[in-house]
Subunit: 684 residues, 2 copies
């Protein structure tokens, strides 16, 4: 309350930085920043606690711009409050190698919490950030020590509101009663196709009420700073529900084209930019102007944030003496290092141990390590009993009022919401104190592809527990049997796709997934039982690929993964007995990790001079990188008991042997180079 | 009204067929069929018009089981009403090569409209079926000739209700005021994780009201047949809104485990099955029993359906004489053949024509062919001006009451709902009278991956207009720049991925997309301008790959696609002038179509004896199939003007030449075999 001309000057400074940066870049979205500058000013300057000098201060309020195309709003705020974003960075908006790319990327820019732009993602990330706060607070807060009590604020637009991922996340947040989450909906009635009335006429307020949210409407988001402040204050008071504030604004406020699609995704015309500057009392001939009093105003708030962090540090010091173990644990988590010796809790299998599905060996890993790795937060998109993601006696993460769990629970029921789950996990990971693992069928990781991509791009340590990983799931049939899925995610940069062949490879997959602090992982796991291999050890498997069966003077290398490795092992006998062919077997649970090994190791695994045949019961695409010939499945599968399905497609020792014979014949006398040898290096 | 014991016997027959089939298969989901048998009986026997002897009768009511795991409900109905599903087929439920797979597949089983199982898809397909009805009716119905007035009915469960795709589709249906759509929500409070209270506590009725639906609640779906009938009758009366009937049921009704997760995804125990049979008055020792009076009851309804089709045929005969052109057009559409000579309207470019973006050449194709191909229904997920999917003077498909279009409109504003769009397009295609084309950025086709997969699996002629197809989109940056996307969809069986290099290749892509009646297509199109190539002709390009520049005694074949072909052409000069290397260029707009060419043609394009280098500015995975070495981008892109971004990653004539030199050196003296030669054939 009590807003003055200075506030409006600050707001208009934000608007004009967005105008200038998009104009200079000749690209970008000025409309949303111009429309949302008032609420951004009120929120950042009156409500949010953060320290620009230490953007990772753990109890900071989180801010997410889900309508990430409006990122000049966020970059302007980061600059004005004194984060490590200079005026020069704003001038390099949308230029190669700048820290101000076309959409906000958390890995590149200080103060950006999560990578947004693909619509709906940021909204769901915010739900994850709020979940992480609720959980971490429940674990670490003690009487007199409310260490973690930050809020998560998210801006979202009509585009986000239309995306299914945001619906999934909103329903989840309502169920979870996340009182620490406040979402501000930029109701500007404009999307790229123009007026939203062409496609989006639902009642968004009512929908959020249906999800269990507290809903308010500020009708004049362009001018009513008091109303905005009152609504946010009210939302903070509501502790048992997430809050949504519908804020009606004018996109491109101030432009001659305000309120139209013309200001959404294009810079203002030069004369319009001048007109806006004049209207706002700025010199129309100047660009990138930051009035000193605006700097001072924001610097004051920033210094309050720094003081808040100092006070927190003091509190934490006292806490450390009263609760030394907890303090140590929190500090350790923030360093992203796992507890000393945790890896000793990884289960080890002997070759004589019973055959088991890797979804079950995965369950054993989780059962075995969950106490040693308290930051592990498991869950499933309504496939708990199939994904085997829940350790015995796990407590559900639930609002205590429901009587079926509490905030300290480490098992999250995501519902049948794969895309929402993935984006929520990105948010949980981004908070900094947790490692989320979430289950679904491998085929339905594809539902979440938009968010999985952002796990990779934004370097989140997220684990996808993807069971029922092939036609080996059997009866559910082609609608559920992945063919294209593994190569899809192998082609995604900064993603580890693991397909373990047995228990020890499963332990290896978890070892790498948990210790790779800035790379997500997909663990493709079987429904069906697999034998424990002879040479599978943690040490071998964490190289991504290793020799499972060596042979002198071999005629062929067979490279395989997961459930097919054991069948290849059986094929060795068929080849020897019926064809006098000597085969060696390579198990390749993770091509990305294998790629990171030294070339001489790789050449020992897939050597020169003999052909290599890959065997994996899905698309052969990509396997040419590691083999001369490929046996796979480039068609949809079939519904039936899995052994019948494997037989139909000839994934049997005999079927593999047949292809191996053909391969050996085809390369007879040619002594082929290993595919590891390449003419040139790829850019990385 | 006036239900008798016979009705209950019929209902229990359905239930027990589901019990017996899942028991025999030792796999499957008896719970939903047992819970939904009453509503299925009322709907199919009292409301739906269909002719089991001709399951494709065009004005039949459409039925979609979005909770497709409950498919034994549908198979039982198909059998009982006399579709081509025998009792023996039911006994082969979930067996290899049966027509009763684990989830319903439209391509395999007569009477299955769309392929469901992946949750939420069927719901969205139903929206598409309803759209297609509304449009087709508007085009063909004339006074006195209400040729097309069928309803679309969809069953969906809690899982579908949680999925974002269903939210997107429901919001769309509400906006479009689809009075011909009736959705029945199986509110049984059970999903795989048990009671839905663990994750799903929103108010579904209120949410659908927010979308603009008419909503009713039948509280006792287990017994209240009159209430069910009244609700469906009421829903049919509501013409200006889609209807949702929340039907509270008991999952696994009759089982000792009814109302629990125990009957969701597992067959009943043998003794429980006997108990249920006894309870329902059936012989507990018998299986797969169909009482004669039940057969008779349903046969009567089936014969009414056959009579309805006969009456329709008579009406259509009269219509044909009164509206011969329309009748001819409808008949032609149903044959899936395009109008005679339509291909002459495809635009042709000369090499001297101006450089243009392929999203613009795509627009020219649409502009040029849309009159000749009246079944083409275009649209975009809120990127109309970027995807260039709208021809001039297109009319929007909108409810007339909004005043911004009408039911006969051929341009659909899908909103920012990519996944919903894709599944709606599957439904539109499945109706049988339309070919849907829908636009988004290539990167966001990934949001729709779940539905794109079903386009392929269910053989729908759907066209994805996927613009902004690479780092060439420039400033929007890595969040929007596809890397993994093309190989993902190339690995998807029965999908054509086109990446045209110029105007004529764009025409070729549309030619193949429109004439391939059971294969969907993704058209990856550029934002940036591309030159028109010398050798690009429709005839060449529809082979999927062809020689763009031939050269005698060439040292290397460079295989490229889309925006990189023109750069490769420039690299030829660099190679000749600076390195004395002779390169030939292959343009490969569609690998799947190239794969279908005779091997001798393929070997002419990528010949033996010289190395091949692929050049495509995204993941190299998969290119090993067509080349010895690969130049691509196996990392995320960058935000900046596209020429700067291309330069950063060395996708320039010089950068390509450098890799070509390395490739020639690497294979010097080796005379490598063409990668077209393989040791064995893949299974198809």
């Amino acid at each position: 309350m009590g807003y003055s001309d200075l506030d409006w000057k600050a707001i208009n400074t934000i608007r004009l930085l967005a105008v200038d940066a998009t104009l200079k870049a000749n690209s970008g979205h000025p409309g949303a920043p111009m429309g949302m500058a008032p609420v951004a000013h009120v929120l950042w300057n009156k409500f949010m606690t953060f320290n620009p000098k230490n953007p990772t201060y753990i109890n900071r309020d989180r801010f997410v711009l889900s309508n990430g195309h409006g990122c000049m709003l966020q970059y302007a705020l980061l600059h004005l409050f004194g984060f490590g974003v200079s005026l020069d960075d704003l001038k390099h908006f949308r230029q190669v190698d700048s820290i101000t790319p076309g959409h906000p990327e958390s890995h590149d820019t200080p103060g950006i919490e999560v990578t947004t732009g693909p619509l709906g993602q940021g909204f769901a990330n915010a739900v994850g950030l709020a979940i992480a706060q609720a959980h971490t607070g429940a674990v670490f807060n003690k009487p007199g020590y409310e260490l973690l009590n930050n809020h998560t604020f998210v801006f979202f637009g009509d585009g986000c509101a239309m995306e299914g991922i945001a619906s999934e996340a909103a329903s989840t947040a309502g169920h979870l009663q996340l009182g620490n989450l406040i979402a501000i909906y930029d109701d500007n009635h404009i999307s790229i196709d123009g007026d939203t009335k062409v496609a989006f006429t639902e009642d968004v307020e009512k929908r959020f009420e249906a999800y269990g949210w507290h809903v308010q409407h500020v009708k004049d988001g362009d001018h009513d700073l008091d109303g905005i402040e009152a609504a946010i204050a009210k939302a903070k008071e509501v502790k048992d529900k997430p809050s949504m504030i519908k804020l009606t604004t004018t996109i491109g406020f101030g432009s001659k084209l305000q309120g139209t699609g013309g200001v959404h995704g294009n810079p203002l015309k030069a004369d319009d930019a001048k007109q806006v500057k004049q209207k706002f009392g700025f010199n129309p001939e100047e660009s990138f102007v930051v009035p000193q009093e605006v700097s001072d105003l924001y610097a004051k708030h920033a210094s309050e944030g720094a003081a808040a962090e100092q006070a927190w540090n003091d509190l934490f010091k006292k806490y450390s003496s009263e609760h030394p173990e907890l303090a140590k644990d929190l500090t350790r988590r923030l360093s992203r290092k796992l507890p000393e010796g945790w890896e000793k809790t990884l289960p080890v299998w002997k070759p004589t141990d019973a055959a088991d599905a890797t979804r079950k060996t995965s369950e054993k890993v989780l059962q075995s390590i969950h106490e040693a790795v308290p930051e592990l937060l498991s869950g499933s998109a309504d496939l708990t009993g199939s994904n085997n993601t829940r350790w015995k006696d796990a407590v559900d993460f639930q609002p205590p009022s429901l009587g079926i769990g509490d905030w300290s629970g480490r098992y999250l029921r995501y519902g049948v919401r794969e895309h929402g789950m993935a984006a929520i996990m990105n948010g949980i990971s981004a908070y900094g104190t947790l490692i989320p693992a979430g289950g679904t069928f491998l085929n339905f990781v594809s539902y979440a592809a938009g968010a999985v991509r952002l796990s990779s791009l934004s370097h989140q340590r997220v684990i996808y527990v993807a069971t029922h990983d092939s036609i080996g799931l059997g009866e559910d049939g082609p609608t559920h049997q992945p063919i294209e899925t593994l190569v899809h995610f192998r082609a995604l940069p900064n993603m580890m796709v693991w397909r373990p062949a047995d228990g020890n490879e499963t332990s290896a997959a978890y070892y790498m997934a948990l210790t790779s602090t800035s790379t997500p992982s997909i663990l493709a796991l079987t429904r069906q039982n697999l034998p424990q291999l002879e040479n599978s050890t943690l040490k071998n498997a964490i190289k991504g690929g290793y020799v499972a069966i060596e042979a002198e003077n071999a005629d062929i290398t067979i490279v395989s993964t997961g459930s097919e490795v054991g069948i290849c092992v059986d094929a060795v006998k068929v080849l020897k007995d019926q064809h006098s062919i000597t085969a060696r077997i390579v198990s390749m649970p993770c091509t990305e990790v294998f790629d990171a090994q030294p070339k001489d190791y790789q050449l020992k695994v897939i050597p020169d001079g003999i052909p290599a045949l890959s065997v994996e019961v899905m698309s052969t695409l990509g396997w040419e990188k590691y083999s001369h010939e490929q046996f796979g499945l480039n068609r949809f599968g079939a519904s039936g008991p899995y052994k019948d399905v494997y037989k139909k497609f000839e994934f049997t020792p005999e079927g593999i042997a047949k292809r191996a014979v053909a391969t050996v014949d085809f390369y007879k006398g040619l002594k082929p180079r290993s595919p590891i040898n390449r003419a040139f290096q790829q850019l990385i």
